[in-house]
């Protein structure tokens, strides 16, 4: 440990020579996100194959040339099932994240802009909501309102707006003390005008970033609910439903129906996080890159 080579001192500061790795990572993330979006948008209309097509002669085939991901216990092609599952999961994730961001932005901006007892009351509500574990609250809501897609979307949205509300409120609070807001107010601008012309444009990038980072989180949530058998009905298979449905095959020793849907959760999550990390460095250049997820 004592013989350090002089060219590589251990106290070298962080992240100076990793520029190129970072660029590669961002580009790779961009390619993967684009590929995932294109796949879920284009495969269903262009590839005229039925993902539900049962072929009992081709049950549980391991990955091969005609079925790159293998087939499941009914002989359905797993690559096609995974793409359709990603489509459902991504759609639920995007809708839930968008809803949560709208709620969070409105609540956070109202609390930050009005201040006083409104702010205190709103933050108390946020504290109360965040003291119930998210998945538990999701399970509770979905259990009472199932089955269907909407209970899942609503339960994910209702548990995910809290962080956005906190971020937006903090941003609005720090903006309120800036001179240009004072100037606008003393210049006679109405509350509404200040909010729409000055506060909103400054807050939107933060809220949009939070929304993008929330999509994988919402996907994760949806797949967990579906895996527990509480989420989406089996005929709209999401990635979580696929993993749940593969449990029988797994216990019989077939690993592929479990492995590939999981990879379809992990890879988009990492790609979105990689892109969002680069974006965050751009809009918050002073804050050094933190943990992405």
């Amino acid at each position: 440990m004592t013989c350090e080579s002089p060219s590589r001192p251990t106290w070298r500061s962080y992240g100076t020579d990793r520029r190129s790795t970072r660029t590669v990572r961002v580009r790779l993330s961009a390619v993967l996100v684009t590929a995932a979006v294109l796949a879920v948008l284009l495969v269903p209309p262009l590839v005229r194959l039925d993902q539900q097509a049962v072929d009992l002669g081709a049950r549980l085939l391991p990955p091969n040339w005609s079925h790159p991901f293998g087939t499941d216990d009914l002989g359905r092609d797993l690559l096609l099932r995974c793409v359709y599952g990603l489509r459902v999961s991504l759609l639920v994730g995007v809708v839930a994240a968008f809803t949560a961001t709208v709620i969070g932005t409105v609540v956070g901006a109202t609390a930050g802009a009005l201040g006083g007892w409104v702010d205190r009351g709103v933050m108390r509500v946020v504290d109360t909501f965040s003291s119930v574990p998210h998945l538990l609250l999701g399970i509770f809501i979905v259990a009472l309102f199932r089955p269907g897609v909407w209970p899942v979307v609503v339960s994910v949205a209702l548990t995910h707006w809290l962080s956005t509300a906190r971020i937006v409120r903090a941003e609005v609070l720090s903006l309120r003390s800036r001179p240009y807001i004072d100037a606008a107010v003393s210049g006679g601008a109405s509350r509404w005008r200040v909010a729409v012309r000055h506060l909103l444009p400054a807050v939107l990038p933060q809220a949009a970033l939070a929304a993008v980072l929330m999509v994988p989180h919402a996907m994760w949530h949806e797949s967990a609910l579906s895996f527990l058998g509480l989420g989406l009905p089996t005929h709209t298979a999401s990635l979580g439903t696929l993993i749940q449905g593969a449990r029988g095959s797994l216990l019989a020793g077939q690993w592929w129906p479990t492995l590939f849907p999981g990879l379809f959760v992990i890879v988009p999550t990492l790609a979105i996080a990689g892109l969002a990390g680069a974006w965050r460095e751009r809009i918050n250049p002073r804050r050094r890159s933190e943990l992405m997820l």
């Binding site: 106290w11 992240g15 538990l136 009472l144 058998g229 993993i243």
Partner: protein, 331 residues
């Protein structure tokens, strides 16, 4: 150190937090009843099960009256609250036991699972984080960091299934689930220990990335600061610098945040216990939800909220103890 602990200030903080926790718990239980009242869920049908299909309207009406379903949810909430405070949490339909007994029997297994998993995650996470921070940008650092991000993104139930496939089916070294072997009559420590390895391991792995990445960041930051530079200039060994200086200052912020990890731990336990059939409280929650066993679900939601609040209190206490700049009276 023991004699200088600010017991009085800590007790006052605990007292204040309890005062805040009471209304939060009240609101959460009230919310649980409000959501149930707004949902299409019908307690009478749930109670009667398939018998409700053949029952005549009069029987259902009497059942409805007996169960107190027609009362407004606020008064049902009040009845539940008053009897809960006197120790009666109601009857669990799915477990066919009083709710209090379900919790008493299962809490110990969940606590065991979570405690073991958490301890492993903290120790392994710290070790990996320090290793990665020692040489930022090195091959080891990249491997550890990439692995941590990949594990953070991986659904824990998926990891659990793959672990079962590998360790229980392919390799055959560990049991795939449950608390004891099916043939075994009694719960022996040895049985529990072998059955604990996989669930606790998977839960630990799901908590690991967070610790690893934060310790890496904290130690990495500390390695670039003046105290470490000074220690190196004094000629202290790399080991002393790393463990005595960088780890000490880099680990503290992470340790103080441990209490705030309770929600993630509960989330992980919900999924891990369900996959492995571990007879804990989290698996009971999922069963209660699947069968819409409302008394059990309400009690467990309240319990989980209390656990989260307790974790937050622990985080604040540790923060105040370890960071001399923070005063308990300000929190």
């Amino acid at each position: 150190m023991t004699s200088s602990l600010p017991w009085g200030a800590m007790a006052r903080l605990v007292g204040r937090r309890l005062l805040f926790a009471a209304p939060i718990l009240l609101v959460v239980t009230f919310g649980v009843f409000a959501i149930a009242a707004a949902s299409p869920f019908d307690p009478v049908k749930a109670y009667a099960g398939t018998a409700a299909l053949g029952a005549d309207a009069g029987t259902l009406e009497r059942l409805r009256e007996n169960l107190g379903v027609d009362e407004p949810f606020a008064s049902r909430w009040w009845n539940w609250l008053t009897s809960a405070l006197s120790g009666d949490l109601g009857q669990s339909a799915v477990m066919r036991q009083p709710v209090a007994q379900v919790i008493a029997e299962r809490l110990v297994w969940s606590t065991l699972l979570c405690a073991v998993a958490f301890a492993v995650a903290v120790l392994a996470g710290t070790a990996l984080g320090v290793l990665a921070a020692r040489r930022p940008g090195s091959a080891l650092d990249r491997v550890v960091t990439s692995l941590a991000y990949a594990l953070e993104a991986a659904p824990v139930f998926w990891l659990a299934l793959l672990a079962i496939w590998f360790f229980a089916l392919q390799w055959g070294v560990l049991p795939a689930g449950g608390l004891t072997d099916t043939a075994s009559e009694q719960v022996t420590p040895g049985q529990v220990a072998t059955h604990l390895v996989l669930p606790a391991g998977v839960l630990a792995v799901s908590q690991l990335p967070w610790f690893t990445l934060y310790v890496r960041q904290g130690v990495g930051d500390a390695l670039a600061e003046d105290p470490v530079r000074g220690a190196r200039a004094r000629g202290l060994s790399e080991r002393t610098v790393l463990l005595g200086h960088a780890l000490r200052s880099g680990l503290l912020p992470v340790l103080t945040l441990i209490g705030s990890r309770v929600p993630e731990l509960i989330t992980g336990a919900l999924l891990v216990e369900s996959v492995f059939g571990w007879p804990g409280i989290a698996a009971a929650t999922v069963e209660a939800a699947t069968a819409v066993d409302f008394p059990l679900l309400a009690a467990l939601t309240t319990l989980a909220t209390a656990a989260v609040l307790l974790g937050n209190l622990l985080a604040d206490l540790l923060y105040g103890l370890f960071d001399p700049r923070v005063k308990f009276s300000d929190m």
